[in-house]
């Protein structure tokens, strides 16, 4: 999530047991009322902002099951991002790849990292639904304001980042982090 490019390399599909672990990590988070409400509302707001909803759902669990039924979950050893996602681009396109070099994806049996895995899965499922960081940040802000969250800061502005590719990449990361910040407020408690 939210890092530089995630170059696909040799991938291996996760076992059904590993997929169930990720499903449980996600379910634990969205069972939390604030977290579940935020995720559902952000997906609805994304639909309003963009006029698009590829899988016609506001449910993270439904999106998760879409990935399972389409291209699935895979593991790759990569240098950069923690995870990557494809979605919203055509039939059988929904796919999430996790980076086995990332601390909390290196051992899916490690219960110490269940929250972080769930949080990352939420982030990637937004991409599966067809939305990028620019849209995710704005939708999260609108929802957080509507749900009376505290600490809802100003959105990143492109003009405040350097010119060129580096500035554009930093702006994208800032939008990803903005979304993640509000997601964490909702999903790790003490959000409002």
């Amino acid at each position: 999530m939210n890092c530089s490019s995630f170059a696909p390399q040799t991938e291996t599909p996760l076992t059904s047991g590993e997929v169930d672990t990720l499903r449980g990590d996600l379910q634990n988070l969205v069972n939390n009322k604030d977290c579940g409400n935020l995720v559902t509302a952000v997906l609805a707001e994304l639909r309003r902002l963009t006029g698009r909803s590829y899988y016609n759902t506001n449910s993270a669990m439904s999106l998760f099951n879409t990935v399972v039924s389409q291209a699935g979950f895979h593991r790759v050893a990569a240098d950069a991002s923690v995870a990557g996602a494809w979605g919203g681009g055509g039939p059988n396109n929904a796919k999430i790849t996790i980076n086995s070099n990332a601390l909390y994806f290196s051992d899916l049996t490690d219960t110490q990292h269940t929250f972080q895995r769930g949080l990352t899965t939420i982030h990637e499922l937004m991409h599966v639904a067809g939305y990028g960081h620019l849209e995710m940040a704005r939708a999260a802000r609108n929802v957080a304001l509507a749900q009376s969250y505290s600490n809802v800061g100003a959105l990143p502005s492109r003009r405040n980042f350097a010119a060129g590719k580096k500035g554009a990449a930093a702006f994208d990361v800032a939008n990803a982090q903005y979304f993640n910040g509000l997601r964490n407020q909702a999903c790790l408690g003490g959000g409002r």
Partner: protein, 164 residues
């Protein structure tokens, strides 16, 4: 006189007009040049909210940032480092409900740089010279950001002109 035919024609016109291509009025709004009045005229909206306004239009959602300082570049007024009057447009973000083909933009002219992320269907094409970023998914432009172009750097507060 039979009124059915004219009514049908009117109905057909209404339906086809509503499905017409996006009018792209936001293209007339230029960062560091346009004002609230220009925004109202271009988008057909009634008000501007400072520092940001978001307009949910039929074909797109448009978000616009305005300068808010009455004394730009003066001490203590450095929230936005642009020497432009209050109410000037600083940045525009357009979320297109009907994506545009990437081929409509000359992204291969050497002025655009490609940026990718963990959303692997998406590519951002950044052109700082013109002050435009295009966010495309599978060769369709879905979002457009217009920000101050490099050539407008003289409008930055305390800009320094270096001798050649």
């Amino acid at each position: 006189m039979n009124m059915t035919m004219p009514l049908l024609i009117c109905l057909w016109l209404a339906l086809t007009t509503s499905n017409a291509a996006p009018s792209k009025q936001w293209q007339d709004i230029v960062p560091l040049r346009s004002t609230c009045a220009d925004v109202k005229r271009a988008l057909g909206v009634e008000r501007c909210g400072f520092p940001d306004s978001t307009y949910y239009l039929r074909h797109e959602t448009v978000s616009i940032s305005f300068s808010t300082s009455n004394a730009p570049c003066s001490a203590g007024q450095q929230q936005e480092p642009w020497n432009v009057p209050r109410g000037t447009v600083l940045e525009i973000t357009v979320f297109l409900k009907k994506p545009l083909p990437l081929s409509e933009f000359r992204v291969d002219d050497g002025k655009y740089e490609k940026v990718t992320s963990d959303f692997l269907d998406e590519v951002t094409y950044n052109n700082s010279e013109e002050g435009i970023s295009l966010v495309a998914v599978n060769e369709e432009v879905r979002s457009i950001i217009r920000f101050p172009a490099s050539r407008d750097k003289h409008l930055r507060c305390h800009s320094v002109t270096c001798p050649n």
